[in-house]
């Protein structure tokens, strides 16, 4: 126990005194969280800049409640100079210029932003249709009641936090294992420990416990900052993400062992771990959701351990699923961990007999 405590402490100190490790484990992923959570969080489109040229009675004589809805979508400015208005649209300073030609509303729009162009046309058409219906004096027969299937609070931050946390844990677990294995081999500390009366199990346990502790700290920081600053709301059995994260940490330690066994230097080992993890993060939905991606990409991503870690965490943290949702991902991650560890041990042994 004394040896285990001393080793854990030594490894922990080695971690938090290494600015690069701390940066890549915590600060770097947090930068992405701030980026996604803070900057892209408002996914609703910004208002459409509309220039009203001359007098357009449809807009000016709209009933108050319709006008309020109109102002939600459009930022209206007035001008009498059509040419200047068109120039503004062309330059992208405005999205659309409307003028009245008798009962026809002419909308001059730009296709530069296709989404906005579609919204502009759709919204204008809706107001024209709505006004036409109102003018008939008949109550409309059909009404639309849009209802979102997700929780109301499902913002970008909800999707992004579990994915980025998965990436952060994958990075710190794999980098830590890779650097320890290769660094200790280089410095012969591994040999030195073999000659001390301490079992391999104790050494491995110390490294695992420190890495798992770091992962849990990462989780606390991510969830804490997400909730405090960006309105992250945890749903379902979010605590089930803890055992999932522990197994995920073991899995990515094995990825780091593989990198450490293959590489020849400590820097090489960390770079190799990054080479495994970063593309995996992209393909596993850490940075963007995979729902809209092509089928082959989703097939590839289902072969990657990080995908299962991310999915499991999304399920219990924001999709409101029960604790049983993490069982399958945990099994898959444990399977990856065992296979990759055995492979690394083989490669490492072969390499050590030279």
């Amino acid at each position: 126990m004394k040896a285990f405590t001393a080793l854990s402490l030594a490894i922990l100190r080695g971690f938090y005194r290494d600015k690069a490790s701390v940066f890549f484990a915590i600060v770097f992923p947090l930068m992405f969280l701030v980026l996604f959570g803070g900057i892209f969080s408002d996914q609703s489109q910004s208002k459409v800049d509309l220039i009203e040229v001359g007098t357009v009675s449809l807009v000016d004589e709209m009933p108050a409640d319709a006008r309020a809805a109109f102002d939600q979508t459009f930022e209206v400015t007035h001008t009498d100079d059509l040419r200047a208005a068109l120039e503004e649209v062309r330059k992208g300073d405005a999205d659309v210029a409307i003028e009245a030609d008798g009962d026809t509303i002419v909308a001059h729009y730009t296709q530069t932003d296709q989404v906005k162009a579609a919204i502009t046309q759709g919204a204008l058409q809706a107001f024209v249709d709505g006004t036409n219906v109102a003018l008939t004096g008949q109550p409309p027969r059909y009404t639309l009641d849009p209802q979102r299937v997700e929780d109301d609070s499902l913002d970008t931050i909800q999707f992004v936090t579990p994915g980025l946390l998965g990436w952060a844990v994958a990075m710190s677990a794999s980098f830590g294992a890779a650097a320890t294995l290769q660094g200790w081999r280089q410095s012969k500390l591994l040999r030195r420990l073999q000659l001390a009366p301490v079992s391999t199990r104790t050494v491995v346990a110390a490294r695992v416990v420190v890495t798992v502790a770091i992962a849990l700290v990462q989780m606390a920081i991510f969830l804490g900052l997400g909730a405090a600053a960006f309105g992250l709301t945890l749903t379902g059995a979010w605590w089930a993400a803890i055992p999932l994260l522990v197994v995920g940490t073991l899995c990515f330690m094995s990825v780091g062992l593989l990198a450490g066994a293959v590489a020849k230097t400590t820097e090489g080992a960390v770079n190799m771990a990054n080479f495994f993890v970063l593309p995996m993060a992209f393909l596993s939905g850490s940075f963007f959701p995979l729902e809209g991606s092509p089928a082959w990409l989703r097939t590839v991503s289902s072969l990657l351990p990080l995908r299962h870690l991310n999915d499991g965490m999304l399920d219990v943290m924001v999709r409101g699923e029960g604790p049983s949702a993490v069982l399958a991902p945990m099994g898959i991650l444990a399977g990856f961990a065992i296979v990759i560890t055995l492979l690394s041990a083989r490669l490492f042994q072969r390499d050590s007999t030279d």
Binding site: L7, A10, R13, S187, L189, R191, Q194, L195
Partner: protein, 299 residues
């Protein structure tokens, strides 16, 4: 009973014979040196003695116990210094030795005592990466000795040190050996082996070529003695006439006489009063080493 007994030890990697039928014994309390050029098999032998490698053939007994397979009962009785950088990264000197102390279940107070013995108290809070080469080596040796082992292995402890740091370390190593410990040292430095070791084994190509005390090895070499006189004492022609002088040449520091009977030649030079500023160089362990292992450069 010897501290280490090695019988018929052999090890090869594929076609390369690293250790070839090596037999020797190290007595308890002895300071034993293993010398040899790079690739001579020193490290492989040490690893087999330490129980890190399984020999292809032969038997190793350390402190009366078998070493292979890994013998946990033996580990607390031996100390190992591998190289100066075998440390936990980013720990201070004090944290470092305390960690090793904990691995051997030794108290922190004893670890601090070792820090003091190797003169690192004022560097206790310095991280290992910021220690000088000599300080790192002293810490490394202290970490190897923290559990007060009966037998210590030191692998090139003075490599890459400046002359002051080397001599400082020699004092420390002598003190370690004086405490009754058995010390096994590998080194490239002949002067170091000559000063520290009771006996040395000179190795090459996986074999022990010679094994004796440094003085006996030098005597056995039967090397010529060089006597250098200050300029103006004698001419080369006069010197060759002195009985026992084999050769005489003018060098930058004066006339250099080569002889195999230095006693007689020196007595004669003393009679003629030519000894002011004389320098006498006898064979060294380095001559023995080069004589045995050859002079060609090896990478």
């Amino acid at each position: 009973m010897g501290a280490i007994e090695v019988r018929g030890l052999a090890m090869s990697y594929g076609d390369l014979v690293a250790v070839d039928d090596v037999t020797f014994e190290v007595a308890e309390g002895e300071f034993f040196g293993i010398l040899g050029p790079n690739g001579a098999g020193k490290t492989t032998i040490l690893e087999m003695i330490e129980g890190l490698r399984k020999p292809d053939a032969g038997v190793v007994t350390v402190l009366g116990e078998r070493v292979w397979p890994r013998n946990p009962a033996l580990l607390p009785r031996i100390g190992v210094q591998l190289q100066a950088s075998s440390f936990f990264e980013r720990l201070t000197a004090r944290e470092q030795i305390h960690t090793f102390a904990a691995l051997y279940d030794v108290s922190g107070a004893r670890a601090d005592g070792w820090l003091e013995r190797v003169g690192l108290v004022d560097k206790a809070s310095t991280r290992v990466g910021d220690l000088s080469g000599g300080q790192a080596q002293r810490l490394s040796i202290a970490c190897a000795l923290v559990h007060d082992p009966e037998l210590v292995f030191l692998d090139e402890p003075t490599a890459a040190l400046d002359p002051q740091a080397r001599r400082n370390l020699w004092d420390l190593l002598s003190a370690i050996a004086d405490a009754g410990r058995t010390v096994v040292l590998t080194t490239h430095y002949m002067d170091e082996a000559e000063v520290l070791c009771d006996r040395v084994a000179i190795m090459d190509h996986g074999r022990v070529l010679e094994l004796d005390s440094p003085a006996a090895l030098v005597r056995g070499l039967d090397a010529a003695t060089r006597i250098t006189l200050t300029p103006g004492q004698l001419t080369a022609d006069e010197a060759v006439g002195v009985e026992g002088v084999v050769d005489a040449t003018d060098g930058p520091d004066g006339l250099v006489l080569t002889t195999r009977s230095p006693g007689r030649v020196l007595a004669r030079l003393a009679e003629d009063d030519h000894l002011d500023g004389v320098r006498v160089q006898t064979g060294t362990l380095e001559d023995v080493f080069l004589d045995l292992t050859g002079r060609e450069y090896r990478a």
